[in-house]
Each structure stands twice: as C-alpha cells, then as structure tokens.
C-alpha cells in the first residue's frame, strides 16, 4: 500500500468520524424534532458506512458475489483473493432496515406530536419536566 493510498484512506476515515460528530451535534443542539430525525438518519447511515469501509480491501476489489454458478477452482481462488469482506455488508443490510424502521416510527410520532402541541420545537413540547 503506497503512502498516497494510506493518506486517502485515513482521510476518508477522519471524514466519516467528522460526519458522526457533526450529526450528533445537530441531534443534540437543534430544537426541531424533524431536524433531529434527519440528523439521526445521517448518524445511523454514517455508522453503516464506517463498518463497510472497514471491510474494504485494497487489492483490486470486486463485489463478494461469485459471477457464475459453475466456477472452476482457479476462478474461486481468484474470487477469494479479490472479493471484499461480505460480513459488514450483511450487518449493514440488517442495520439499514432497523434504522429505517425506527426512523419511520419517529416520523409518525413527530406528526402525532404536532397534532397535540401545534409545534415541533422541543422547547415548547414540554409538558413533562424533570
């Protein structure tokens, strides 16, 4: 792995962590519930991207799918040598569904909150204190 490649990968890594930090900031500090939800979706997606990124491989990568049903031994060896890590992809598919489900539910709740309170500002939606 050359220095350039290493620098690029580190840069990507730092950028992902930055997205995590910024979205968490938005999640905590922004008063609007829908804004919070958008930030939450970005937060979750970034976590997903992070694990996929860790499963990447820098030797002529190909997707982890055997291109044919009747492979030869050499083809399988070539495939194993080049394909990227399938485990993070499996985990992320699960996580995407879960994030999406939670997000959907949150949006339903936000709409219901608006029906009760007439606002989406968390500082005004505060019948509960303590």
């Amino acid at each position: 792995m050359s220095m350039l490649e290493f620098t690029l990968l580190m840069y990507c890594y730092a950028a992902l962590i930055a997205v995590l930090a910024i979205s968490l900031y938005g999640l905590v500090r922004r008063p609007n519930i829908l804004k919070k939800i958008i930030c939450l979706s970005i937060f979750g997606d970034t976590a997903n991207t992070l694990i996929i990124f860790l499963g990447f491989r820098t030797r002529n990568p190909i997707p982890p799918i055997v291109p044919t049903l009747t492979p030869t031994k050499s083809l399988m060896m070539e495939f194993t040598r080049r394909a990227v890590d399938p485990v993070p992809q499996c985990l992320v598919l699960t996580a995407i569904v879960i994030n999406m489900a939670v997000l959907m539910f949150l949006i339903f709740l936000a709409i219901q909150i608006y029906r009760h309170y007439g606002t989406l500002d968390v500082r005004k939606v505060a019948r509960l204190r303590g």
Binding site: I62, P63, I65, P67
Partner: protein
C-alpha cells in the same frame, strides 16, 4: 489486451470529467438559492453518477455492480415529483 487498454485510456479521460461535473453540480446544490435549483442539480447529479457507475462497471470488469445505476435513475425521479407536489402547496397524498 488491446480492448482493455483502450477502455483504460477512455476511463482516464471520462472519469475525471464526470467527477468534476459532479462537483460542479454539488456546488449548485449547496449554493442553490431556491429549492427547485437544488432539486434540479440533484437529479442532474444522480444521472451523472448513473453513467459513472455504468462506466466503472466496465472499467472494473464486474457486471454485478451495474444494477445500482438503474435503481438510482429510477429513484431520482421520485424526489423531483414529491418536491414539486410539496411546492404546489397541497398535501402530498391528494
């Protein structure tokens, strides 16, 4: 492997151009004074990325990647019409 080298040469020309164009679209999205501007730039960007994806599939030599381009092209449309309906000032379900 002449075909391969030819493809490589084309790729060296095409991929940077598309990347630069994509960046210009992104600048328009971020600048976009109005929402229609942003949406327009986003749909241009996604079509741009479609081509990039199809081309990269040839360049990398893995056909399985190309299905993503089709989906991206299909879904970019729904953002357009939903924003349009929102801007028309009606409830989206009607």
């Amino acid at each position: 492997m002449e075909v391969h080298s030819l493809i490589n040469t084309i790729a060296m020309v095409v991929i940077p151009i598309y990347a630069v164009a994509a960046l210009l679209f992104v600048i328009r999205v971020l600048k976009g004074p109005t929402i229609p501007d942003m949406v327009l730039a986003i749909s241009c960007l996604s079509y741009d990325l479609c081509v990039l994806m199809c081309f990269l599939a040839i360049y990398i030599g893995s056909s399985l990647l190309v299905l993503g381009a089709l989906c991206l092209a299909l879904w970019a449309y729904i953002l357009d019409i939903s924003v349009a309906k929102y801007l028309e000032g009606r409830e989206l379900g009607e």
